[in-house]
């Protein structure tokens, strides 16, 4: 771009700076409302998915208006950004940010963002794409969406039109740490950044990407097994509530039991347990579960059906590897008339 063009462009832009400010001041409240609505909606959807926001989000979810000074700076004085219509082209006048622990958590949020009908989305940045396009580059990583209302909405006493953008950033905690360093320390550096500093920052990103992958691997190994793969818990809970009319409770002790007998957890397990519950001979035992609710907490958990099944079909394995107090099995064995004596 030649220098005469730049001069002409800047002259044209300066002419609009006052108008820009005025418009921004008029519409701040609308941007503010839109950012707030997005954060509230996302928090609500995550909670609906069963996420505990206090632990799932590593920083409280917040929206933030760009401050006047940096907005003007970005619109008119940044050498790397030259806008024809800065007011509408700058899409991060209001931003919201979600910071999570794992790459997988980001995927969960993306699913929610992309399926919500409240807004239209423009996936303007994704680290997966960046990695694909510039495999040799280690730099700022994050997921960015520009969200605009899919139709005009009333919120917080203002009307938000479909042209109002909000930039949503989604990152891991480590990506966030890197962004904080680069944004605060590098962009705002008082002197020219030396190549070796840039090189070190790039090394940090490489390390962070590696660590994020290890984090995911560890979490997957800790939390993913046949129980999750075959969705055993959900299926057992629905079987239990269909049979008893009672909503089962979930206790940690049942995870201990599933863990211990992991070798039996496969696609056919639920069918086998179902077949047992449908057997006329054992109907009386299943029908009696509601009457026994107060006698022992295991009667309130869907895993009782698995333990009954084990008592009938895998008794010796059950007795040998039972991870909890053996006395817990006695009442269940009594229900079935199965002896536990060797």
């Amino acid at each position: 771009m030649d220098s005469s063009y730049n001069q002409r462009f800047n002259r044209w832009a300066r002419m609009n700076q006052e108008e820009f400010k005025e418009k921004w001041n008029q519409e701040k409240a609308i941007h503010e409302a839109w950012g707030k609505l997005i954060v509230n909606k996302l928090s609500e959807s995550l909670a609906d998915e069963g996420k505990d926001l206090d632990s799932f989000l590593k920083l409280p979810a917040k929206h933030r208006l760009k401050d006047d000074k940096s907005l003007i700076d970005k619109a008119f004085y940044r050498a790397d950004k030259q806008y024809r219509d800065p007011y509408s082209e700058i899409e991060d006048k209001v931003g919201a940010r979600l910071v999570v622990l794992l790459i997988e958590d980001i995927k969960d949020i993306c699913k929610i963002v992309e399926s919500c009908e409240l807004w239209t989305f423009d996936p303007c940045k994704h680290f997966d794409n960046d990695r694909h396009e510039s495999p040799l580059l280690f730099t700022y990583q994050s997921v960015h969406y520009i969200l605009r209302p899919s139709e005009e909405i009333e919120y917080d006493g203002v009307t938000i039109g479909t042209e109002f953008p909000c930039e949503l950033q989604i990152r891991t905690l480590l990506q966030h740490a890197h962004a904080e360093l680069t944004h605060d320390a590098i962009y705002k550096a008082q002197k020219t950044v030396q190549p070796e500093v840039s090189r070190t920052v790039a090394k940090c990103m490489a390390l962070i990407e590696t660590t994020d992958t290890f984090f995911s691997e560890v979490t997957q190994k800790l939390n993913y097994g046949p129980l999750q793969e075959h969705r055993i818990n959900d299926k057992m809970n629905s079987l239990y509530s269909n049979l008893t009319g009672i909503q089962p409770i979930n206790c940690k002790s049942s995870l201990t039991i599933w863990d211990q007998f992991e070798q039996f957890l496969d696609d056919s397990l639920i069918d086998k347990i179902k077949a047992f519950t449908e057997d006329d001979n054992y109907k009386v035992v299943i029908d009696n579960i509601p009457q026994r609710l107060n006698t022992n907490i295991i009667y309130e958990q869907s895993i009782i059906l698995f333990v009954y099944w084990m008592l009938l079909f895998k008794k010796r394995r059950l007795l040998r590897d039972w991870p909890l107090d053996k006395n817990l099995l006695e009442p269940l064995a009594n229900d079935l008339g199965v002896t536990l004596e060797g």
Binding site: K314, R317, N334
Partner: protein, 365 residues
Amino acid sequence: MHLLNFNVDRIIIHQVFQRDLDGSKVPPTQSHEFTRFDSSALEAFRTRVKDAIGDGSKAVQMEIVDQGDHDLPTLVNNMVDQNDDDFAVSSYDAAKLLNDVQNSKSIPGGIVVVFSGTHGSPSKKFWGVMKADIYSGYKKEVNPRTNEISLEFIKELLLTPASRLYKTAVFIEKANYEADCSDLNDKWFVLVSDSQINKADGKAAAKYFYSGFLGCGYPETSARTTKKFYEHAHKFIEDLDMPETSKVNLYNALTTYLKVDQASTVSSSEFAERYIDNIDVQDEFTCYMREQGLPGNAFTKDLEHIQTKLKFRKIKFRRNIQIQAPADKFEQFITMKPINGNEDENGVPEKWTQVTIKDSIVGQE
């Protein structure tokens, strides 16, 4: 599975005594009140009953033989419908019957627990009796001040978890029967748990209880059930996914268990736990046998229909070669193991068997 979801409603206790030095009867001590257990004691009692006669126990099914007015089966048949007062009186009649048949000074006294309740759906009745030997034992005492533990001697202790210390019989009302059936066997299914029955030649020692007192006998179907056990166990081993040479030990075990072992009862659980190494295969075996209609508990052994089968063990090879040996000698004198033979054109060795017979040849045809 005979007692599903069973509840015990009434429990009453009497005591019978050993004959005195002259061999004369000592009258039993009678209770008039029912025993009221709290819920945990009742659950423990349920456990004792279930451990004695439940699925996987050593209890055996018996047939009602004595059906006269004064025999126990008739008494039971009447008792289950009686009100509490009459039930209490009749239960003492049962204790007297037991006292009468304990006609040898060698038979110890004990506590007679008579109980009844319901099971299954639609709800059916059951009636039970336990004769519990009395032992001494200790009770833990904790000094509340010092937390020191001491033991208090208890001279008379009973119904501990060891079911060999008591004899149990349960009459279980069948799901379907004619209201006016004349044979009590049509209405009642009887299970008897008595550790003496399971012992080698234990029938005689146990007879006063199952026959004299309960009026029962071994079922006529024992021989058929034993044959069924042999055939299905054989089939189970045959279908196991393991090399034939590894099955040799299991076939040997089946013969040993039925023929060589002197116990008078047979059970799938006992065979599994004694002879099958892998615990999951043990579970598969007992489930398979139950699916084939064999009792989940024990049954009395009668080898009548399988004598010839048990006489010889035969091993057949593909080229019409056979090894035959008396069943009781096979395990002791013949060992075999798989070895690699000549290689075929692809370099894969043929599967051969190396047989060792610990004996010399005495004749040839």
